[in-house]
Protein backbone atom coordinates (compact mmCIF):
# COMPACT_ATOMS: atom_id res chain seq x y z
CA UNK A 1 0.00 0.00 0.00
CA UNK A 2 1.26 3.46 -0.87
CA UNK A 3 2.26 5.82 1.95
CA UNK A 4 -0.38 8.33 0.77
CA UNK A 5 -3.91 8.06 -0.59
CA UNK A 6 -3.38 7.56 -4.32
CA UNK A 7 -5.84 6.10 -6.92
CA UNK A 8 -6.34 2.39 -6.31
CA UNK A 9 -4.71 -0.17 -8.57
CA UNK A 10 -2.87 2.42 -10.66
CA UNK A 11 0.81 1.49 -10.87
CA UNK A 12 3.96 3.41 -10.06
CA UNK A 13 4.49 6.98 -11.10
CA UNK A 14 1.10 7.13 -12.84
CA UNK A 15 -0.69 6.97 -9.48
CA UNK A 16 1.54 9.70 -8.10
CA UNK A 17 1.09 12.15 -10.95
CA UNK A 18 -2.66 11.59 -10.74
CA UNK A 19 -2.42 12.53 -7.06
CA UNK A 20 -0.43 15.66 -7.84
CA UNK A 21 -0.69 16.69 -11.50
CA UNK A 22 0.63 20.19 -10.73
CA UNK A 23 4.13 18.73 -10.39
CA UNK A 24 3.43 15.58 -12.42
CA UNK A 25 2.96 17.55 -15.63
CA UNK A 26 6.55 18.83 -15.46
CA UNK A 27 7.93 15.37 -14.65
CA UNK A 28 6.27 14.05 -17.80
CA UNK A 29 7.41 17.05 -19.83
CA UNK A 30 10.99 16.44 -18.67
CA UNK A 31 10.78 12.74 -19.54
CA UNK A 32 9.31 13.50 -22.96
CA UNK A 33 12.00 16.03 -23.90
CA UNK A 34 14.85 14.03 -22.45
CA UNK A 35 13.86 10.59 -23.75
CA UNK A 36 11.99 11.46 -26.94
CA UNK A 37 13.30 14.88 -27.96
CA UNK A 38 15.98 15.47 -30.55
CA UNK A 39 19.28 13.81 -29.50
CA UNK A 40 22.34 12.10 -30.92
CA UNK A 41 21.43 9.13 -28.70
CA UNK A 42 18.58 7.00 -30.08
CA UNK A 43 15.34 6.71 -28.08
CA UNK A 44 16.19 3.06 -27.48
CA UNK A 45 19.63 3.94 -26.07
CA UNK A 46 18.13 6.56 -23.80
CA UNK A 47 15.49 4.15 -22.45
CA UNK A 48 18.27 1.64 -21.86
CA UNK A 49 20.26 4.16 -19.80
CA UNK A 50 17.09 4.85 -17.79
CA UNK A 51 16.50 1.13 -17.18
CA UNK A 52 20.14 0.59 -16.22
CA UNK A 53 20.14 3.41 -13.66
CA UNK A 54 16.81 2.19 -12.28
CA UNK A 55 18.22 -1.32 -11.84
CA UNK A 56 21.14 0.11 -9.88
CA UNK A 57 18.66 2.01 -7.70
CA UNK A 58 16.75 -1.27 -7.28
CA UNK A 59 13.53 0.35 -8.43
CA UNK A 60 11.57 -2.55 -9.89
CA UNK A 61 8.76 -0.47 -11.39
CA UNK A 62 11.05 1.92 -13.26
CA UNK A 63 13.51 -0.75 -14.31
CA UNK A 64 10.80 -3.05 -15.71
CA UNK A 65 8.81 -0.35 -17.48
CA UNK A 66 11.82 1.29 -19.10
CA UNK A 67 13.44 -2.03 -19.99
CA UNK A 68 10.18 -2.90 -21.71
CA UNK A 69 10.19 0.44 -23.54
CA UNK A 70 13.81 -0.16 -24.57
CA UNK A 71 12.95 -3.66 -25.88
CA UNK A 72 10.05 -2.22 -27.87
CA UNK A 73 12.32 0.41 -29.40
CA UNK A 74 15.29 -1.91 -30.05
CA UNK A 75 12.92 -4.19 -32.01
CA UNK A 76 14.85 -7.19 -33.37
CA UNK A 77 17.85 -6.24 -31.20
CA UNK A 78 15.79 -6.33 -27.98
CA UNK A 79 17.97 -9.10 -26.47
CA UNK A 80 20.54 -6.35 -25.88
CA UNK A 81 18.45 -5.03 -22.98
CA UNK A 82 18.83 -8.15 -20.84
CA UNK A 83 22.53 -8.34 -21.61
CA UNK A 84 23.01 -4.76 -20.43
CA UNK A 85 20.99 -5.21 -17.24
CA UNK A 86 23.00 -8.33 -16.51
CA UNK A 87 26.49 -6.90 -17.25
CA UNK A 88 26.80 -4.00 -19.69
CA UNK A 89 30.58 -4.41 -19.99
CA UNK A 90 30.15 -7.69 -21.88
CA UNK A 91 26.90 -6.75 -23.67
CA UNK A 92 26.80 -6.64 -27.51
CA UNK A 93 26.64 -2.84 -27.63
CA UNK A 94 28.99 -0.14 -28.92
CA UNK A 95 31.97 1.02 -26.86
CA UNK A 96 30.41 4.47 -26.99
CA UNK A 97 27.26 3.23 -25.26
CA UNK A 98 29.36 1.26 -22.75
CA UNK A 99 31.34 4.37 -21.84
CA UNK A 100 28.10 6.36 -21.42
CA UNK A 101 26.61 3.61 -19.21
CA UNK A 102 29.76 3.82 -17.12
CA UNK A 103 29.12 7.54 -16.63
CA UNK A 104 25.43 6.93 -15.90
CA UNK A 105 26.35 4.35 -13.26
CA UNK A 106 28.65 6.81 -11.56
CA UNK A 107 26.03 9.58 -11.58
CA UNK A 108 23.65 7.13 -9.97
CA UNK A 109 26.01 6.87 -6.99
CA UNK A 110 26.85 10.58 -6.78
CA UNK A 111 27.71 13.19 -9.41
CA UNK A 112 31.23 13.57 -8.04
CA UNK A 113 32.05 9.97 -8.94
CA UNK A 114 32.29 11.03 -12.60
CA UNK A 115 35.97 11.58 -13.33
CA UNK A 116 37.64 13.39 -16.23
CA UNK A 117 39.01 9.98 -17.27
CA UNK A 118 35.45 8.62 -17.61
CA UNK A 119 34.56 11.53 -19.86
CA UNK A 120 37.79 11.13 -21.86
CA UNK A 121 36.99 7.48 -22.41
CA UNK A 122 33.55 8.39 -23.71
CA UNK A 123 35.01 11.01 -26.08
CA UNK A 124 37.56 8.48 -27.30
CA UNK A 125 34.65 6.30 -28.38
CA UNK A 126 32.89 9.11 -30.21
CA UNK A 127 30.65 10.67 -27.53
CA UNK A 128 30.19 14.43 -27.83
CA UNK A 129 29.19 17.12 -25.29
CA UNK A 130 25.47 16.58 -25.94
CA UNK A 131 25.77 12.82 -25.43
CA UNK A 132 27.53 13.36 -22.11
CA UNK A 133 25.10 16.07 -20.99
CA UNK A 134 22.06 13.93 -21.80
CA UNK A 135 23.54 10.82 -20.20
CA UNK A 136 24.23 12.69 -16.96
CA UNK A 137 20.77 14.27 -16.95
CA UNK A 138 18.99 10.99 -17.71
CA UNK A 139 20.88 9.27 -14.87
CA UNK A 140 20.13 12.18 -12.54
CA UNK A 141 16.46 12.27 -13.57
CA UNK A 142 16.00 8.56 -12.95
CA UNK A 143 17.71 8.92 -9.59
CA UNK A 144 14.76 11.24 -8.90
CA UNK A 145 12.00 9.08 -10.45
CA UNK A 146 13.22 5.93 -8.68
CA UNK A 147 13.16 7.69 -5.29
CA UNK A 148 9.74 9.21 -5.99
CA UNK A 149 8.16 5.90 -7.00
CA UNK A 150 9.63 3.87 -4.12
CA UNK A 151 9.71 6.69 -1.57
CA UNK A 152 5.91 6.79 -1.60
CA UNK A 153 5.65 2.98 -1.91
CA UNK A 154 3.56 3.22 -5.07
CA UNK A 155 2.08 0.00 -6.43
CA UNK A 156 4.61 -2.18 -8.28
CA UNK A 157 2.96 -4.81 -10.52
CA UNK A 158 4.58 -8.25 -10.55
CA UNK A 159 3.06 -9.49 -13.83
CA UNK A 160 5.60 -9.15 -16.69
CA UNK A 161 2.68 -8.67 -19.12
CA UNK A 162 1.77 -5.42 -17.41
CA UNK A 163 5.24 -4.07 -18.18
CA UNK A 164 5.15 -5.29 -21.80
CA UNK A 165 2.00 -3.22 -22.30
CA UNK A 166 3.57 -0.23 -20.57
CA UNK A 167 6.67 -0.61 -22.74
CA UNK A 168 4.64 -0.67 -25.94
CA UNK A 169 2.68 2.40 -24.87
CA UNK A 170 5.83 4.29 -23.86
CA UNK A 171 7.47 3.23 -27.11
CA UNK A 172 4.53 4.32 -29.27
CA UNK A 173 3.12 7.32 -27.44
CA UNK A 174 5.89 8.58 -25.17
CA UNK A 175 5.15 10.40 -21.92
CA UNK A 176 1.56 11.57 -21.81
CA UNK A 177 0.15 12.73 -18.46
CA UNK A 178 -2.70 10.38 -17.48
CA UNK A 179 -6.16 11.91 -17.37
CA UNK A 180 -7.67 12.36 -13.94
CA UNK A 181 -10.18 9.60 -13.18
Amino acid sequence: MAHIQVPDGVPGIRSLVMFRPESGQYLYELAQILLRGESSLTEAERELIAAYVSSRNECVFCMCSHAAAARHLFKDKKHVVNFVLDDYKTAPISDRLKSLLNIAGKVQKNGKEVLPSDVEEARKHGANDRDIHDTVLIAATFSMFNRYVDGLASFTPTDPKAYEEMGARLGEKGYVLPKQS
Binding site: E29, I33, H133
Partner: protein, 182 residues
Amino acid sequence: MAHIDLPEGLPGIRGPMAFRPQTAKPLNELAEVLLRSENSLTRGERELIATYVSSLNDCFYCQNAHGGIAQHYFQCDINYIDAVKKDFESTAISTKLKSLLSIAASVQKGGKHVTPEQIEKAKHHGATDFEIHDTVLIAAAFCMFNRYVDGLGTWAPQDRDIYVERGPRRAQEGYLNFDLYK
Protein backbone atom coordinates in the same frame (compact mmCIF):
# COMPACT_ATOMS: atom_id res chain seq x y z
CA MET B 1 36.77 22.83 -15.50
CA ALA B 2 33.42 21.26 -16.33
CA HIS B 3 33.28 17.92 -18.14
CA ILE B 4 31.66 19.56 -21.17
CA ASP B 5 32.03 22.93 -22.84
CA LEU B 6 29.67 25.18 -20.89
CA PRO B 7 29.19 28.95 -21.32
CA GLU B 8 31.79 30.90 -19.33
CA GLY B 9 31.28 32.23 -15.85
CA LEU B 10 27.95 30.59 -15.04
CA PRO B 11 27.94 28.87 -11.65
CA GLY B 12 26.37 25.54 -10.75
CA ILE B 13 23.23 24.54 -12.62
CA ARG B 14 23.19 27.73 -14.72
CA GLY B 15 25.89 26.48 -17.09
CA PRO B 16 24.06 23.24 -17.96
CA MET B 17 20.79 25.16 -18.28
CA ALA B 18 22.36 27.56 -20.76
CA PHE B 19 23.86 24.57 -22.59
CA ARG B 20 20.45 22.97 -23.11
CA PRO B 21 17.48 25.33 -22.58
CA GLN B 22 14.89 22.73 -23.69
CA THR B 23 15.56 20.56 -20.64
CA ALA B 24 16.07 23.63 -18.41
CA LYS B 25 12.43 24.62 -18.98
CA PRO B 26 10.73 21.65 -17.24
CA LEU B 27 13.49 21.60 -14.58
CA ASN B 28 12.72 25.21 -13.71
CA GLU B 29 8.96 24.68 -13.90
CA LEU B 30 9.35 21.77 -11.50
CA ALA B 31 11.45 23.84 -9.07
CA GLU B 32 8.93 26.67 -9.23
CA VAL B 33 5.89 24.51 -8.48
CA LEU B 34 7.63 22.49 -5.77
CA LEU B 35 9.39 25.30 -3.95
CA ARG B 36 7.30 28.42 -4.53
CA SER B 37 3.71 27.61 -5.42
CA GLU B 38 0.94 27.85 -2.85
CA ASN B 39 1.41 25.13 -0.26
CA SER B 40 0.70 24.38 3.39
CA LEU B 41 4.47 23.96 3.78
CA THR B 42 6.04 27.42 3.77
CA ARG B 43 8.58 28.36 1.10
CA GLY B 44 11.22 28.46 3.83
CA GLU B 45 10.41 24.92 4.94
CA ARG B 46 10.58 23.63 1.38
CA GLU B 47 13.88 25.41 0.66
CA LEU B 48 15.22 23.93 3.90
CA ILE B 49 14.31 20.40 2.76
CA ALA B 50 16.13 21.10 -0.52
CA THR B 51 19.15 22.49 1.34
CA TYR B 52 19.27 19.57 3.74
CA VAL B 53 19.12 16.91 1.01
CA SER B 54 21.77 18.77 -0.99
CA SER B 55 24.04 18.73 2.05
CA LEU B 56 23.52 14.97 2.42
CA ASN B 57 24.55 14.63 -1.24
CA ASP B 58 27.54 16.88 -0.49
CA CYS B 59 26.61 19.26 -3.31
CA PHE B 60 28.26 22.57 -2.47
CA TYR B 61 26.46 24.74 -5.01
CA CYS B 62 22.94 23.50 -4.31
CA GLN B 63 23.19 23.48 -0.53
CA ASN B 64 24.55 27.03 -0.50
CA ALA B 65 22.25 28.44 -3.19
CA HIS B 66 19.15 27.05 -1.48
CA GLY B 67 20.58 27.62 1.98
CA GLY B 68 20.88 31.31 1.15
CA ILE B 69 17.25 31.39 0.04
CA ALA B 70 16.08 29.44 3.13
CA GLN B 71 18.02 31.85 5.30
CA HIS B 72 16.12 34.75 3.73
CA TYR B 73 12.72 33.15 4.35
CA PHE B 74 13.56 32.16 7.91
CA GLN B 75 15.21 35.54 8.58
CA CYS B 76 17.94 33.66 10.41
CA ASP B 77 21.71 33.56 10.14
CA ILE B 78 23.92 31.00 8.43
CA ASN B 79 24.64 29.20 11.71
CA TYR B 80 20.98 28.25 12.03
CA ILE B 81 20.95 26.67 8.57
CA ASP B 82 24.25 24.92 9.31
CA ALA B 83 22.80 23.59 12.58
CA VAL B 84 19.82 22.10 10.73
CA LYS B 85 22.14 20.45 8.22
CA LYS B 86 24.35 19.03 10.94
CA ASP B 87 21.68 17.84 13.39
CA PHE B 88 18.14 19.07 12.79
CA GLU B 89 16.72 17.19 15.79
CA SER B 90 18.59 19.52 18.14
CA THR B 91 17.26 22.71 16.49
CA ALA B 92 14.10 24.71 17.16
CA ILE B 93 12.29 23.80 13.93
CA SER B 94 8.83 22.24 14.36
CA THR B 95 8.36 18.54 15.16
CA LYS B 96 6.43 18.23 11.90
CA LEU B 97 9.36 19.61 9.90
CA LYS B 98 11.76 17.33 11.81
CA SER B 99 9.63 14.31 10.88
CA LEU B 100 9.59 15.44 7.23
CA LEU B 101 13.38 15.95 7.19
CA SER B 102 13.75 12.36 8.46
CA ILE B 103 11.72 11.20 5.49
CA ALA B 104 13.80 13.38 3.17
CA ALA B 105 16.98 11.82 4.59
CA SER B 106 15.63 8.36 3.84
CA VAL B 107 14.67 9.37 0.28
CA GLN B 108 18.21 10.60 -0.23
CA LYS B 109 19.52 7.11 0.59
CA GLY B 110 16.89 5.44 -1.58
CA GLY B 111 13.10 5.35 -1.87
CA LYS B 112 12.80 2.05 -0.03
CA HIS B 113 14.52 3.52 3.03
CA VAL B 114 11.32 5.43 3.83
CA THR B 115 9.52 3.36 6.46
CA PRO B 116 5.82 3.22 7.37
CA GLU B 117 6.92 4.29 10.87
CA GLN B 118 8.43 7.49 9.52
CA ILE B 119 5.23 8.21 7.60
CA GLU B 120 3.11 7.50 10.68
CA LYS B 121 5.25 9.79 12.77
CA ALA B 122 4.92 12.62 10.24
CA LYS B 123 1.13 12.19 10.15
CA HIS B 124 1.08 12.11 13.95
CA HIS B 125 2.84 15.48 13.92
CA GLY B 126 0.25 16.89 11.56
CA ALA B 127 1.71 16.26 8.09
CA THR B 128 -0.90 15.83 5.35
CA ASP B 129 -0.63 13.47 2.37
CA PHE B 130 0.21 16.47 0.18
CA GLU B 131 3.01 17.55 2.53
CA ILE B 132 4.45 14.03 2.62
CA HIS B 133 4.18 13.77 -1.17
CA ASP B 134 5.92 17.09 -1.68
CA THR B 135 8.66 16.27 0.84
CA VAL B 136 9.45 13.03 -0.99
CA LEU B 137 9.37 14.72 -4.41
CA ILE B 138 11.50 17.69 -3.30
CA ALA B 139 14.05 15.28 -1.80
CA ALA B 140 13.99 13.15 -4.94
CA ALA B 141 14.24 16.20 -7.21
CA PHE B 142 17.29 17.47 -5.35
CA CYS B 143 18.90 14.06 -5.70
CA MET B 144 18.50 14.82 -9.41
CA PHE B 145 19.65 18.46 -9.34
CA ASN B 146 22.70 17.63 -7.19
CA ARG B 147 23.75 14.86 -9.61
CA TYR B 148 23.24 17.13 -12.63
CA VAL B 149 25.40 19.89 -11.11
CA ASP B 150 28.19 17.62 -9.85
CA GLY B 151 27.96 15.01 -12.61
CA LEU B 152 28.98 17.63 -15.17
CA GLY B 153 31.76 18.94 -12.92
CA THR B 154 30.35 22.48 -12.81
CA TRP B 155 32.11 25.36 -11.09
CA ALA B 156 30.72 27.23 -8.07
CA PRO B 157 32.05 30.29 -6.22
CA GLN B 158 33.47 29.10 -2.89
CA ASP B 159 32.65 32.20 -0.83
CA ARG B 160 29.47 31.26 1.07
CA ASP B 161 28.58 34.89 1.73
CA ILE B 162 27.81 35.37 -1.96
CA TYR B 163 24.90 32.93 -1.71
CA VAL B 164 23.60 34.53 1.48
CA GLU B 165 23.78 37.96 -0.14
CA ARG B 166 21.88 36.77 -3.22
CA GLY B 167 19.24 34.93 -1.17
CA PRO B 168 16.64 37.71 -1.08
CA ARG B 169 16.88 38.36 -4.82
CA ARG B 170 16.71 34.68 -5.70
CA ALA B 171 13.71 34.27 -3.39
CA GLN B 172 11.96 37.15 -5.12
CA GLU B 173 12.77 36.27 -8.75
CA GLY B 174 11.86 32.58 -8.51
CA TYR B 175 12.76 29.81 -10.93
CA LEU B 176 10.92 30.90 -14.07
CA ASN B 177 12.07 33.44 -16.63
CA PHE B 178 15.09 34.55 -14.68
CA ASP B 179 18.27 35.75 -16.33
CA LEU B 180 20.88 32.98 -16.16
CA TYR B 181 23.64 35.56 -16.45
CA LYS B 182 22.58 37.81 -13.56
